[in-house]
């Protein structure tokens, strides 16, 4: 057997067949899917996530909703293995990212995290300049050339619409930005590591309405290139931007569906109760 890279190399050497088939091959062998199989998570003796089975559709926005404490954020953390840092958490089951189980023994956790750009609840700029914040990811992942780093920084600052606002003070501390700008900076920082998936953990809950709107628009723009998975506790936000909804309650997935289907025609009684505001 020859490996994927070798095949691509062979195809690239042969210019006639090159580009088209290369991309095709990548698509076939490495389709960007995220699949969760019988995932259980325990924190100490508490059973937090119960038998989660889920396939996240690619290049779209999937919103995970549910009342507080239902395990939304815990679930999100299993996707980039952030639970590795807390030994009380025990995980069983499989999470396939690009057909690799990220909980497999020989998977490098750094590679997994590189594939996932995380946008946290509160923006947390690194204690350095705006430029260095975005450049940090590429730098630790081995980009040394100054020109390449400059290009990356400008590209992603432009992408999140921050470039025009900060171009004059790119070397000043990131802490001086407003909180909405900080969140966009954090998004640019996450995009600069060139992930395949974007995870958002209530990424707009600390922001004012205007900044929330900007971030939401960015998510919609992002789904052309990335698979976006958002945890949110505002139903209206889910309605506004999601393509697919996952409703969780007490650590279980109650219902999934497209946004339209989910909101207009919920199948489970729990879902209907939740949507009508009987509990939150």
């Amino acid at each position: 057997m020859i490996s994927l890279d070798q095949q691509i190399e062979i195809l690239t050497v042969n210019p006639v067949m090159a580009t088209d088939r290369t991309t095709q091959l990548r698509k076939v062998i490495k389709n960007h899917t995220l699949r969760v199989e019988s995932l259980d998570v325990y924190i100490e003796k508490q059973h937090i996530l119960k038998d989660i089975n889920l396939t996240i559709p690619e290049k779209s926005i999937t919103c995970i909703i549910g009342p507080s404490g239902c395990g939304k954020s815990t679930f999100l953390k299993t996707l980039n293995r952030m639970h590795d840092e807390t030994p009380e958490v025990r995980i069983s089951g499989k999470v396939f990212v690009d057909d690799e189980n990220i909980y497999d023994k020989n998977i490098n956790v750094i590679d997994t995290r590189k594939k996932m750009g995380l946008l946290a609840q509160r923006p947390c700029p690194l204690p350095m300049s705006i430029f260095d914040n975005v450049a940090y990811g590429p730098r630790i992942h081995g980009t040394r050339k100054r020109k390449a780093i400059n290009q990356t920084v400008i590209k992603y600052l432009q992408y999140v619409g921050l470039w025009d606002e900060v171009r004059g003070r790119i070397r000043s501390s990131a802490n001086r930005l407003s909180i909405g700008q900080q969140q966009r900076l954090c998004l640019a920082r996450g995009l600069a590591i060139e992930p395949e998936y974007i995870l958002g953990d209530e990424a707009t809950s600390a922001l004012d309405p205007l900044s929330t709107k900007i971030i939401e628009e960015l998510f919609i723009k992002l789904k052309d290139k990335y698979t976006v998975i958002l945890v949110t506790h505002t139903l209206r936000q889910a309605k506004r931007i999601a393509d697919h909804i996952v409703f969780m309650y007490l650590g279980q997935i109650i219902e999934t569906g497209t946004t339209e289907e989910f909101f207009s025609n919920p199948k489970q009684k729990l879902t209907r109760d939740y949507l009508s505001g009987s509990f939150s």
Partner: protein
């Protein structure tokens, strides 16, 4: 009703009294040192080495002790920073929160914190005999280093514990290794480390008991690590023991020098720590 009012008054008096006692103590100490020391605090005291007959009241100064104290504290600081920083980063950011090992470490630090400096002096002396080192700059550095290490670790640890988990999480989710994460966290914690260093300096530079057996005393400035070295606390100690009134007054002048040195350091520590807490918000 009357009883309550009386209660209120009595406790108010006790509290104000306590505050007053602290203030009076401080003013009395500073007052005495200044009153007795200032007249003898000449330019010569700071810039000259002890001349012949200095200890009988003749010309000279305590430059040897000032420089010696600075040498020792710089060495001790280098030593204890090299050990404190890795330890604090390890128990805060490598080990999981509330791990058993970090609890053991913190408990040990609390005990080390409470050990009197003369015990460090005795331990340092025993260690030096074992290693075959004479009373010297090296011996002083090691012993003062041991004394200030738990102080530095404990106060740096307090700052590190306050750091929100957001930053480490943000760094890890970008795919940083723990070492890469630690480097950035250290940058964020730098003001806290400065405060810890200054607190340790204030404590280490004024301690007499640790250097009594380990650093020796000399009228010269040492040029190598295995030469004995003079220190300000011992300079005060020896001069105060002299029967000559003039020499006794010089002890107070040396005390002024030491106090000013420590005051400057603690004020800057205060400044750094308040600046740090502003950054936190």
């Amino acid at each position: 009703m009357k009883k309550k009012q009386l209660e209120e008054k009595v406790f108010k008096v006790i509290m104000i009294g306590a505050a007053a006692i602290i203030l009076v103590m401080l003013l009395y100490i500073i007052g005495t040192v200044l009153y007795k020391g200032l007249p003898s605090l000449t330019w010569d005291m700071i810039t000259k080495m002890p001349g012949g007959g200095f200890y009988l009241g003749k010309e000279g100064g305590v430059l040897n002790a000032i420089v010696g104290s600075v040498y020792i504290i710089i060495g001790a600081l280098a030593l204890s920073t090299l050990i404190s920083v890795p330890l604090v980063m390890y128990i805060n950011f490598y080990l999981p929160p509330n791990s058993k090992f970090s609890k053991v470490i913190r408990f040990s630090l609390d005990i080390l914190f409470g050990i009197p400096s003369i015990v460090y002096g005795a331990f340092g002396f025993a260690l030096m005999i074992y290693l075959g080192i004479r009373a010297s700059l090296l011996g002083g550095i090691i012993t003062v280093g041991m004394l200030i290490m738990p102080i530095m670790m404990r106060s740096f640890d307090e700052v590190a514990r306050l750091l929100s988990r957001d930053l480490p999480d943000a760094l890890l989710s970008l795919g940083a290794t723990k070492y890469e994460m630690t480097k950035i966290l250290l940058r964020q914690l730098m003001p806290g480390l400065m405060t810890a260093i200054l607190l340790a300096v204030g404590r280490g530079i004024g301690d007499a008991a640790t250097v009594l057996f380990t650093a020796g005393y000399t009228d010269n400035i040492p040029v190598s690590l295995n030469q004995p070295v003079a220190t300000l606390p011992l300079a005060i100690f020896f001069q105060l023991g002299s029967p000559v009134a003039e020499v006794q007054n010089r002890a107070y002048a040396s005390a002024v020098i030491l106090t000013v040195l420590i005051l400057v350091l603690s004020f800057s520590a205060r400044y750094f720590s308040s600046k740090f807490s502003k950054n936190k918000i």
